[in-house]
Symmetry: none
Subunit: 194 residues, 4 copies
DNA sequence: TATGAATGAGGTTTCATTCAT
DNA sequence: CATGAATGAAACCTCATTCAT
């Protein structure tokens, strides 16, 4: 039972994903080469191809971990009554989901052009539209649509954008969530808030 | 006075910038090759290098057109009294500036990872922080800081994100601006609004 | 046991070095392109980059075969008494070392400007100064310093410069060595010789 | 009658030659680009083409200044009696010629591979052989041929090789010349020297 | 489960050179 | 006497990918 460097057994696939996400988020997808990923892992490029069919496949695999939770969230949302409370809960849950996949979201946020071209783009756009649909009243004025969109964006971008500010991350997430909930509340036509 | 293909006048530099922006925005900076730009212009790659020292230089030149207006805006803002009206006017003017450089902003929005690595990144971040500083009250709670940030993001992302919606662009811009102004008003501690 | 074109064994690296040295010596380093080297080997350029990180790296690798022997020679010399016999033996051994790496030395001789700019330049200069130091008496007049330098140059240049003369190579090498030894003997203040 | 930058009139050709020699000697012929030369002169590349037909032409023009003096020297030598004194005078005059074209000779010394491929190579090689012929006795042993060659090399390389030594340049040139004369004297079978 | 060796396409950049003005 | 604009060729280098072992 050796340890250290050599004790990696069946976890290579996972390790590839970890390193890939880290580098994709840091430098962008296009600028990150498979050589770089392989070197970080002390493996050859060919090894990556044992685990993934193409470079894009690595990226797709990263998103798969995320598709499930969001799909569940959407499904949950679509079974609830369309009340303001539901919307608030939706945002809370979404915020939690984002927090647990921060790297991936930072990547999405910063590589929209790349993602758009890849097969994931469409997939992701659909989810966003579904989420927005759940939070919107029918025939609401344009401003309110913008508010919902803005709420989602605020959640997406909030965490990284606040990186340079002082303060504990959980507290920041709370503030971001508050603002998002506010926006959706206003879009809902909430009287208790004003 | 012949026209068409052969009309090499003094406009090549400008034409390079136009095509580059178009392609950068559409496909991303890294995925757009100089060959591609050159072909769109019916010029050789070497011609691009006559007008710009590097690929990054083309990008930088695109931003230079934008730096000026934003700097002026910041300067104007810093000379005004820090009232809510000033803030609203700031957003109005910023929205107008964005509208007049839409392509560039779409590019920025969708290629953040790329921009961050390039020399422009720092430049741009500074401007954003300055703008936020102008819109914020001193010692305001974290939520209000998020609101200001969110207002800027909403302006940035708003126009493209609404592309898939029906409606006239100016009307959309109006809605986006309304939401942004709302956010900043709330951050200002506006009583008239709630 | 097939042979010919397809015999890719473990010798590619060596074959690259052989061809590179041949072409560098013949045409100069700058004028020799990687395409040319690759074509001579019936390999793609990319294959060269599998074995060497840069063009300069190929050159450096060629020199590494030489550094060892010369370093050993210098070390040997520094452990001997500084007699005339030692100096003569030093030249004999150096001449032998040069003969066994003729191509490389022809290259050095004819591409000094290139070598000087590359990392090898400094390395090589140091060795020369060490060798000269071993052959010189302390506080010897300038003429004698020139004689030692000239002895080294004569060894370096001798073999190729005599290419156009008739005669067997070993005999030429002997003549060159004789002259070099003579020069150092005179620099040593040898009485037996005059 | 303006002065400063603008007062260059008919001297551009000369200035191109000066800068070119400087850069060729410093970096080598191949590594020096016409762009670089032009920039050093604050002129466009196209201007170089007004004065010289090709890059190689610039180099050739540099050598033309040297061909004359050496040809005269060879001619003078061939009209003298083949005594030792003549040979010594030949070396003295050659040394003087070299000193007056130091940059060019440094260039030749350090870019032999380049020069060999260019049309100048053959020209120069001929001169060297002629000079050697003038200094050699008929049917002299190989060692003596090497001595003559070594004498020429010593003159060529001496000045730059001694750059790192202390001492006044003229004194160094004297020492180098002394050694060269010694070598040729020995090759002549001089009794007075031993 | 992985590696060593290689490929083909394509990237950015630089070069010497030309020519109308 | 010189420039501004451009070209065609080629340079070095990197990438994603493949495949026999």
């Amino acid at each position: 039972m050796q340890s250290g460097r050599q004790q990696r057994r069946g976890d290579t696939r996972q390790r590839i994903q970890d390193v890939a996400l880290e580098l994709f988020a840091e430098q962008g997808y296009e600028k990150t080469s498979l050589r770089e990923i392989a070197e970080h892992l002390d493996v050859t490029k060919a090894a990556l191809y044992y685990h993934f069919k193409t470079k894009e496949d690595i990226l797709i695999s990263l998103f798969e971990d995320l598709t499930g939770p969001i799909d569940e969230l959407i499904e949950w949302g679509s079974r609830q009554p369309r009340t303001l409370d539901t919307k608030r809960e939706l945002l809370r849950r979404y915020s939690a989901a984002l927090a647990s996949a921060e790297g991936l979201f930072r990547f999405m946020q910063e590589n929209q052009a790349t993602v758009r071209e890849l097969s994931i783009g469409e997939m992701f756009k659909e989810r966003m539209l579904s989420l927005m649909a759940l939070m919107q009243e029918p025939d609401t004025p344009l401003e309110n649509q913008v508010r919902c969109m803005s709420a989602l964006f605020t959640l997406h971008a909030g965490s990284f954008a606040l990186k340079s500010f002082e303060g504990d991350p959980e507290e920041k997430r709370g503030a971001v969530l508050t603002v998002a909930i506010d926006l959706v509340s206003q879009a809902h036509g909430d009287d208790t808030r004003r």
